[in-house]
């Protein structure tokens, strides 16, 4: 149980990764030679307008897609497919409606060898408590609010103790109040159970609030343009003026890249 809760976070190394998709209008280069290193336990936010390849990069790290060129390495091992050491939290919650809240959190745990059912239940309870949903563990998914669903999705992603957590705009569909609450929760939880996190968003303030580092993408083709280190003390409040100042600076940089792109 202790070991299960304390596996160390992982180091990610993304090297010269390109990925294109074939659509009706022909071949689209979604991501062009992206190189990025993420340190153990680092919280890195990927920011950019839609079509800039940030979600593609996340899917490549998840192993849901394979890169055309380049490689994704986790702790020196090449990523060749999905694996429970890299959990994904999707924009839509992707919870299973046929299972209750506890059943959803247990799904990934049941696929983890080396645990007995009692230990699995303990782990599930621990994470449901961490996201503050222990009292609704027997509820059906459709009975929960949007924010509660994303909390369950977070508990489900954290429970099998992944070494990397991949979050794909997990709060985009939520209202502002709920989002602010979740920013606080994410920071608190990451303090308690530090993971290596890749967090995709198009919301610059959200990125500055959560990330140790913010990586800026530009579209057509998707490229990594610039990065910003966020050195603000934690826990951060999204309404903090210093945070807003940095977010403004990043937004200006983002606009610059997008304008250069559209002038070409």
């Amino acid at each position: 149980m202790q070991d299960e809760l304390n596996a160390p976070p992982a180091k990610l190394h993304i090297d010269g990764v390109s990925k294109s998709f074939t659509s009706k209008r022909g071949k689209v280069l979604a991501l062009e030679s992206a190189t990025l290193t993420v340190d153990e336990g680092e919280f890195v936010c990927l920011v950019g307008p839609s079509g800039c390849g940030k979600s593609t990069l996340l899917n490549l790290v998840a192993g849901l897609e394979a890169p055309d060129t380049g490689s994704v390495m986790m702790d020196g091992k090449r990523v060749t497919g999905p694996g429970s050491e890299r959990m994904v939290m999707f924009q839509e919650h992707a919870l299973f409606p046929w299972l209750d809240v506890l059943g959803n959190v247990m799904f990934g745990l049941k696929l983890k060898p080396g645990l007995n059912d009692k230990e699995r239940a303990e782990v599930a309870h621990y994470y449901l408590k961490l996201v503050g949903l222990e009292r609704v563990m027997r509820a059906s998914i459709h009975e929960l609010s949007g924010g509660m669903r994303q909390r369950v999705a977070l508990a489900r992603a954290l429970a099998p103790n992944p070494r990397v957590l991949l979050m794909d705009e997990p709060f985009a569909a939520l209202d502002a109040m709920t989002r602010e609450q979740l920013y606080a929760d994410i920071q608190r939880i990451n303090e308690a159970r530090q993971r290596t996190v890749l967090f995709v968003t198009h919301n610059v303030r959200e990125a500055v609030c959560l990330g140790n580092r913010v990586i800026l993408f530009s579209p057509n083709p998707g490229r990594i343009r610039e990065q910003f280190v966020v050195d603000l003390p934690r826990p951060r409040d999204i309404n903090d003026p210093a945070l807003a100042g940095l977010a403004g600076e990043i937004t200006r940089a983002l606009k610059g890249h997008t304008r250069v792109q559209s002038a070409e």
């Binding site: 998840a62 849901l64 994904v88 999707f90 409606p97 459709h142």
Partner: protein, 254 residues
């Protein structure tokens, strides 16, 4: 409890209206027997065992054919949903045959199997199979891809994904398809029983048919009522628990 009494009052009033209509004497009692006469027939037929044995024969045929139809239709539906080639071939065939009223299988079944239980079984299977196949296919096809992607990232793959994600996720479709399959099977069996006399066992359809031949309207009405009651019970016993589950989990109106 309140709902039960409302339903009870409704059916009691229905019988009362029926009784009063017969009492007026507008129709000959040969054409429209009263609830008393029908009840009397039912009592006699229950006592001599003919009604129960006929019901049992019919239910056995129905369950056997239905189960086989579901067992064949479920995997075939999974396969047509996953393979474009199978969908273009078997899928189109299934869609075509599903539109064929299942009573149309009866002449073919008689030529192939003669007046045997196999003919009955065949008709019921044909009534069930195609609609189950098509709804499973639909269910799996309309599955949000995010479910299988999420399952993949949690370490699920292959048969585990099929068993623990694809099948439960398509359950709303599968249940409604099985329900439709049940309705088709029930209708086709009744048609077959009215149409074909089998020496190996008289079902409710036969009883209905004999009622007509003897001009025994009380028997015809009583057997029809039994058929309706069996249909209702099947719905409540076989499908209501599943629909309640769907309603609770998905929040759907089952």
């Amino acid at each position: 409890m309140k709902r039960f009494f409302i339903a009870l009052t409704f059916f009691a009033s229905l019988i009362l209206i029926w009784h009063l209509l017969v009492k007026t004497g507008i129709w000959s009692p040969v054409l429209l027997p009263g609830p008393g006469a029908v009840g009397e027939y039912m009592g006699v037929a229950l006592q001599d065992g003919s009604l129960l044995s006929a019901s049992w024969v019919t239910i056995k045929r129905l369950l056997a054919g239905y189960l086989i139809g579901c067992l064949i239709g479920l995997p075939l539906g999974l396969m047509t949903a996953r393979s474009q080639t199978l969908n273009d071939t078997l899928g189109v065939l299934a869609l075509g045959l599903q539109t064929l009223p299942s009573v149309c299988w009866v002449p073919l079944a008689l030529i192939w199997f003669g007046q045997t239980e196999s003919a009955m079984l065949f008709v019921v299977i044909m009534g069930t199979l195609w609609s189950v196949l098509i709804s499973v296919d639909n269910g799996v096809r309309n599955l949000p891809p995010i479910y299988t992607r999420a399952a993949l990232t949690m370490g699920s793959s292959g048969f585990h994904t099929l068993r623990h994600v694809i099948l439960p996720a398509s359950m709303p479709y599968v249940i409604s398809g099985m329900k439709q399959g049940w309705a088709f099977a029930w209708r086709s069996l009744m048609a077959a029983e009215i149409y074909v006399t089998l020496l190996t066992g008289y079902g409710l359809g036969h009883l209905l048919h004999f009622g007509r031949e003897l001009n025994a309207m009380d028997q015809v009405a009583a057997v029809m009522i039994v058929i309706v009651v069996i249909g209702l019970l099947a719905d409540k016993v076989l499908f209501s628990p599943w629909e309640r589950f769907l309603h609770r989990r998905w929040g759907l109106n089952g």
